[in-house]
């Protein structure tokens, strides 16, 4: 039976591919998409989620807007160089025939979790503001989750936004700290694995001449690749968020270790860093399954084949 999932996201180019992978995967039952500010502001991420689901023929999936700004941090800002001002690198998708759900993101999470006979998996692809509010305000509901699978942080490869901090955790460190401490099972898919699971522009060659989904993917990948080329000197890109979804679709893709993870909320150089006790120096009880290795080829095949098949399904 398909795994019921809620995806909390800030689309975002890699979020868009991750949502495509989720929709294209029969292993998952996408019950709701909730949005958060991060890669770009909330107005964009919500509109992007609506348009993307419309493109994918899934106007039936509720989209609910959540937090636009972090819980505490006041100096985080979106990342227009990676995702463009609009979050999709200037790629225009057709407007959806509907608006966002009138309920808040957290209320939709609660309703889906309470309304599901099976335990729901919450996949978090952006800053953890909404998820922190869920575990803070509705701990009994959060406790019914199967697990939270989040893209963020790093154990050995620790930083992309700063030398020590990954973007999602950096954006709202207090929220992330709250989520790791919540007592809900957490799977952390961080830079240790996303930086290994790279896709090259030519991996998407099968999409050329394809339908509207293929066209959108190619245009977004082009923008995303140009950024990587400028900053990292490589055309291979990390599809961070897709790996978090893939880790639910095919859990065997990543190898995890049960470790203690906390988040630095005060450091001058390290604020927003996940502090992962890889060598058990602090002897604290593990609170997360941290992905440390990935079958990059298998991930790549899964992502590309599933996304490539989308247009045919929509016809």
């Amino acid at each position: 039976m398909a795994i019921p999932v809620i995806i909390d996201t800030d689309p975002g180019i890699d979020d868009a591919l991750a949502l495509m992978l989720a929709v294209a995967s029969p292993e998952l039952d996408l019950r709701a998409v909730t949005t958060v500010g991060g890669n770009t502001g909330l107005a964009h991420t919500t509109e992007n989620a609506l348009r993307l689901l419309h493109l994918l023929g899934r106007d039936d999936v509720p989209v609910a807007a959540g937090a636009d700004v972090p819980l505490v941090r006041r100096d985080s800002a979106p990342d227009p160089s990676t995702h463009g001002e609009d979050g999709f690198g200037g790629v225009r998708l057709d407007p959806a025939p509907r608006g966002a759900d009138p309920r808040s993101a957290v209320q939709v999470m609660v309703d889906v979790i309470e309304g599901s006979a099976e335990a729901v998996t919450l996949i978090a692809l952006g800053p953890l503001t909404n998820v922190a509010v869920l575990v803070a305000a509705f701990p009994d509901v959060a406790a019914r989750l199967e697990r939270i699978v989040l893209m963020g942080g790093g154990a050995r490869v620790i930083g992309n936004m700063t030398p020590a901090a990954e973007f999602n955790i950096w954006y709202d460190p207090e929220a992330a700290a709250r989520v790791f401490a919540a007592g809900v099972p957490v799977t952390m898919v961080g830079l240790d694995v996303t930086h290994q699971a790279l896709t090259a522009p030519e991996d998407w060659d099968g999409l050329r001449g394809g339908g509207p989904v293929a066209e959108a993917v190619l245009a977004m990948v082009e923008f995303y690749t140009a950024y990587y080329l400028a900053v990292a000197g490589t055309t291979s890109t990390a599809q961070h968020d897709s790996l978090a979804v893939a880790a639910v679709v095919q859990p065997g893709l990543v190898t995890t270790r049960s470790l203690h993870v906390d988040v630095e909320c005060a450091g001058a150089l390290t604020r927003g860093m996940t502090v992962v006790d890889v060598d058990d120096v602090a002897k604290a009880a593990p609170n997360a399954d941290v992905a440390l290795e990935v079958d990059a080829d298998a991930f790549n095949r899964l992502l590309v084949s599933r996304v490539t098949a989308l247009d045919a399904r929509l016809r």
């Binding site: 050995r156 930083g159 030398p163 909320c265 450091g267 502090v275 890889v278 120096v281």
Partner: protein
């Protein structure tokens, strides 16, 4: 020409290894200066004399220095180095006297008297070096080169989740040292943890017959007890000797320049060396730029082990 060295240490089992490595590989010890760290400073000073005497360096002066870190309480690591700091192997301490001058003042005096000639090798918390920088702002210009054992760039720590012991024991002093405009090699856990001796090296060490080699082997047993569960075999890594080795023969390794700082404010990360390893910008090119350090990129571990063994008479 022999490399002339001021050796700042907190002796300590691996400090003892470093002294013996240096003595057997052409180091000329101009002075040893001692800090708190592995053990209280008076214990480390006595141990430094004992080890120098064991390798016949009975004329190298030993100057006692800082008794505690600049901005946090003293913490020592007898659980790693033994109560006497030399593995509780029962070696008789040296009866030689300490030199009269305090460590930081002596570092400044020596640097002023021989500008540009001396290499500073620091293998303990950096309190003495930080104090010397405060006393003599021109110190970076007066010292030829600095090699520090410290930090854990991009790898887990050993004193905390993210902190390596030497930096973690005095983060403020470490920040002063990283910020100084000198050519500084930071020899951190990212490379020292790759120096665990393979079984055949350990076997040759065990078979050593020189008196100083026997002495070191006996002192190492407690240290090996600590490293055995970490490495998965009866061996240990060679933190401090690697700093000495790279001071004497820089070509044993290749380096990359990186910008680095010490986290001073973190709740979970105080004492972490944060180096920018993202590669988003070209690596810096000027080692004298404040905050720029040399990190070891590759190391000839076999050659290093061989030189270590030879220094002990293996």
């Amino acid at each position: 020409m022999a490399t002339e060295i001021i050796f700042d240490c907190d002796t300590g089992v691996d400090d003892a290894m470093a002294i013996m490595y240096g003595a057997g590989n052409g180091a000329r010890f101009v002075a040893c200066t001692v800090t708190h760290g592995n053990v209280p400073v008076h214990v480390g000073a006595r141990n430094t004399l004992t080890i120098l005497d064991a390798v016949g360096l009975t004329d190298v002066p030993v100057h006692q220095g800082a008794a505690r870190p600049m901005a946090q309480p003293l913490l020592t690591a007898e659980f790693v180095h033994g109560h006497d700091g030399l593995g509780d192997a029962g070696h008789a301490p040296s009866q030689r006297s300490l030199a009269g001058t305090l460590a930081a003042a002596e570092i400044v005096r020596l640097a002023r008297s021989r500008p540009g000639e001396l290499t500073l090798v620091a293998v303990g918390p950096l309190t003495n070096i930080g104090l010397a920088l405060l006393l003599e702002p021109e110190l970076p210009r007066l010292i030829r080169r600095v090699v520090v054992m410290g930090g854990a760039a991009g790898v887990p720590g050993n004193a905390s989740e993210t902190g390596e012991a030497n930096i973690w024991h005095d983060p403020e002093a470490a920040q002063l040292v990283l910020d100084a405009p000198w050519d500084l090699v930071l020899v951190g856990l990212e490379i020292t943890m790759s120096t665990a001796m393979p079984a055949e090296v350990v076997a040759r060490l065990e078979a050593v017959e020189t008196p100083h080699g026997r002495m070191l082997w006996q002192s190492m047993q407690h240290y090996i007890d600590v490293y055995e569960p970490l490495v998965g075999m009866r061996t240990c890594v060679l933190h401090d000797p690697l700093a000495m080795a790279l001071a004497l023969e820089p070509d044993l390794a290749t380096y990359r320049l990186a910008r680095a700082g010490v986290e001073l404010r973190g709740e979970r990360t105080r004492g972490q060396v944060v180096a920018d390893l993202r590669g988003f910008e070209p690596d810096p090119t000027d080692p004298l730029e404040p905050g720029v350090v040399r990190l070891v990129d590759t190391l000839d571990v076999e050659a290093f082990h061989e030189k270590f063994l030879r220094a002990l008479g293996a």
